[in-house]
């Protein structure tokens, strides 16, 4: 594979069908950022309808209907696709595909991923899946409109779902290939001396995340195949007998169960939410360790907690299904596991907080985003608890409270962590630092408006407003007292969009004009900073690094510098 690393490669070989993990990582990253913008764009359109129901959408209205008013069915499409795009095409590819690909080999001192061709295949499978998903908007039937959860029987009978399922199969394949590659890389290609206890925490989170993907995605693939059969071959895996749709008896054999889908779906989708959060935690830990200039507090308990978290995430899925008619045994079991799984999260967060004590904190942009992650994830995580307690979930299930809960963990949580990562590793990728002032201009408004969008959701949720309502609750009397928030949230969302402009400018501006830096601008200890910036094509390091110390030797007493790279040999 690396035989041609010294040869000149054609443009196509170098940037398109590349097998270099760094190029693939960048491909993943750019595509995912693009999809994030698309997902966000859909949401900004939906927020117009929620704020000003049944008024024509400005600027882009003509895409969505003759008179520019968002129809309910289109609203449902946009909602389902917002969820799908954000999760499967945005955050997972960015967190695992981009960050995992780019950084894991560097952090473990490997020349490339274990299977470079598979790596490229994984990206292209993702790309095809993305194209199929996007294409569904322009197909005759339109995009899927049964929520990202695709509950049958609705999903079995609604238009657009077939394309969604086919797209999902590609995305699942991509994730499977990618995560097998990451696991193998971590296990097999660690540099000499890099023992498990010396592994940077980020690598640990990638390892656990990849295991989640390998083992949890296939049941969803199975479910997708079954739903595809229902739609294409007329089977009734998810359709019981005796359904009457719009006055017509549904002509199927029946005998299936809609709950089967829910079980298989959530068997994936709960581990999936930890796939969204664990890499984010990894990134945040790296940034915090570096900018507090001290080791992470409780490395062992952090590692133990992510492993335990990963393990437990397979046995909590039915907390999404409390209201499906569950008996006492099942509901008690899943409540207990849900409460158990919250403990390692608390431990991880605590360890990160405690790491701050006694530090010497540098408030640069990556650190700001990483610090903001902590309380924001805290809010999201804490509001998960009343949902995990079945008694309170009776009231809160499928209200905006749930929407608020998970947006706090994914948007100001994961997205902020990813921003932190981009600012932090940008110098490694380009050899230039991103602009601090623009970074601050990105951070502060983003923090403000994120809360502006999502905080009122808890209020609406407490009032009992259901999610996925086209008119934002106008129809319902119990929503009357909290409707005024809709406009507030929408305006916050649009301002949040505007706040991203400095970021986009920063990315392109710094490519040419950013301050030039050497290979270790943040004075960090882990291996990626030993490589040149950017790392050498295909081989990363000039010589194979050898590891002599733990990952975070910052401010060790008695040393003349406040950091000691992992490669520095121990004396005598």
């Amino acid at each position: 594979m690396n035989a041609h690393s010294h040869r000149e490669e054609s443009f196509f070989r170098k940037y398109i069908w590349s097998t270099d993990h760094k190029i693939i990582g960048l491909q993943y990253g750019l595509t995912a950022l693009l999809f994030l913008s698309v997902g966000f764009f859909l949401m900004m359109v939906m927020r117009w309808q929620l704020a000003y129901p049944e008024t024509p959408i400005p600027f882009v209205g003509s895409f969505f209907g003759e008179d520019g008013i968002l129809l309910p069915e289109i609203y449902n499409s946009l909602g389902a696709m917002h969820g799908t795009i954000m999760i499967f095409l945005g955050v997972v590819p960015l967190a695992v595909g981009a960050f995992g690909n780019y950084l894991v080999p560097l952090q473990i001192g490997a020349p490339d991923m274990a299977f470079p061709k598979l790596n490229a295949a994984s990206y292209w499978s993702y790309f095809i899946g993305g194209v199929i998903m996007m294409g569904s908007f322009f197909s005759e039937e339109g995009a899927a409109r049964s929520g990202w959860t695709s509950y049958p029987p609705l999903a079995d009978i609604e238009v657009g779902q077939t394309i969604w399922l086919i797209g999902m199969v590609f995305l699942i394949t991509s994730s499977l290939l990618g995560s097998m590659n990451i696991i193998t890389t971590i296990v097999q290609l660690r540099a000499p001396g890099l023992t498990w206890r010396r592994l940077p925490f980020f690598v640990w989170t990638q390892l656990v995340t990849s295991f989640l993907l390998v083992l949890a995605f296939p049941p969803l693939e199975a479910a997708a195949v079954l739903q595809l059969m229902d739609r294409v071959a007329g089977t009734s895996f998810f359709l019981p007998s005796g359904l009457v749709i719009s006055g017509e008896a549904l002509a199927v054999s029946g005998g299936g169960s809609p709950l089967l889908w829910q079980h298989l779906f959530w068997f994936l989708a709960h581990p999936e939410v930890y796939v969204l959060i664990l890499p984010a935690m990894g990134i945040v830990s790296e940034v915090i360790a570096n900018n507090t200039r001290k080791p992470l507090w409780g490395y062992n308990s952090l590692v133990f907690s992510v492993i335990f978290l990963g393990f437990m995430s397979f046995v909590v899925w039915a907390h999404h299904m409390f209201l499906t008619g569950m008996g006492t045994a099942m509901s008690s079991f899943f409540q207990i596991t849900t409460m158990i799984i919250s403990i390692p999260s608390v431990i991880i967060l605590s360890a990160l907080f405690i790491s701050l004590w006694g530090a010497s904190i540098r408030f640069n942009t990556p650190m700001l985003f990483a610090l903001a992650f902590l309380p924001m994830f805290g809010i999201g995580g804490l509001t998960g608890l009343p949902l995990g307690i079945a008694a309170s979930d009776i009231y809160l299930h499928d209200t905006y409270y749930v929407i608020g809960h998970f947006h706090y963990v994914v948007a100001p949580g994961t997205i902020f962590a990813l921003f932190a990562g981009i600012y932090y590793w940008y110098p490694k990728i380009t050899g230039r630092r991103m602009n601090e002032r623009l970074g601050q201009l990105h951070f502060w408004p983003s923090l403000l408006f994120m809360n502006g969008v999502f905080m009122p959701m808890f209020i609406q949720g407490l009032a009992g407003v259901s999610r996925r309502l086209w008119d934002g609750g106008l129809e319902y009397a119990h929503a009357a007292g909290v409707l005024q928030w809709n406009e507030f949230m929408s305006i916050s969302a649009w301002l949040l969009g505007i706040s991203q402009i400095p970021f986009i400018i920063n990315i392109f501006f710094s490519l040419k004009r950013g301050e030039k830096v050497d290979r270790n601008p943040w004075e960090a200890t882990t291996l990626e900073w030993v490589a040149p910036s950017p790392p050498l094509p295909h081989i990363n390091f000039e010589t194979l690094p050898e590891v002599h110390r733990e990952a975070y030797e910052y401010s060790v007493p008695g040393r003349n510098r406040d950091f000691t790279p992992q490669t520095e040999p121990k004396k005598g």
Binding site: L71, P72, E73, N76, R145, Y151, P153, L154, I157, P240, L243, V244, I245, S246, A249, P258, L259, L323, G325, T328, S331, S332, M339, I343, I347, S350, F353, I354, L356, W357, G358, A359, S360, I361, R362, L374, P375, G378, L382, L385, P386, A391, I394, Y395, H397, I459, Q460, L462, A463, G464, S466, L469, W470, E475, A477, H478, G481, Y554, S555, D562
Partner: protein, 280 residues
Amino acid sequence: MIDILRDLGLPISISSNGPVIDETIALMHWLMLFLFIGWGTFFIVSLVKFRKSKSPQADYIGVKSHISTVFEVAVALIEIVLLIGFSFPIWASRVNDVPTSNEGIIHVRVVAQQYVWNIHYPGPDGIFGSTQSELVDEVSNPVGLDRSSFGASDDFITINQLHIPVNKKVRIDLSTKDVIHSFKLPELRVGQDAIPGMSIPLHFEATMTSNQFLKKMVGTPREGKGLEISCAQLCGLGHYRMRGYLTVDTEEEYNDWLSLQAEYLLEDNEEDEWGDEEDW
């Protein structure tokens, strides 16, 4: 706490199972607040105290004590208390206390379908006639009631109009004709998904009539708008308008309403079964 949550939007609860659920929600939020403020204070103090200009040299060890472990154990203990003390009993009562005999209770069937709630009352004999999906006719027979079956002759079906008497146990058997819906009475803290192919029982008891409720709402944005059934699960393009009306009557009002329905049935005038849209 419950007052704070009320101010934030939580509606008053008007059912016998509401208070325990509210209590659980309140306790959960106490726990959350406690954790958030505790950690938040630590967080802010650390940020201020250990900024670079004030603390140029980091301390390699940092926190030595393991007080956080105590803290974590405390969180775990509180969670256990919440589970065993509140959630398990509430759930057990939800699942196991479903009234099995029709003595002294109101028993109705609710059949959801895309964008309406069909309410099936057993009539004076208290016996539901059997239903078949083949008999469904959207206009004249939305639930597919077999009029010739045992006990069916006095059954009546309303659309989107659920009437129940106050202070009386109500049992509802929830099912659906097409896709998944979710039957939610926000003020009564009742919620249950309607799953195709299943009939799921649920039970509750209202403690306040609609009229009393409306009086309480005077002066709030809710003024003049009564109780309702909302659909909490995406069920298609009309999900947002799948709203039913719940009326909690006094015993007399309820009986009057029942006899009115019986009269309608005698007149065999299907049109009149349709409730007046805006009438709560």
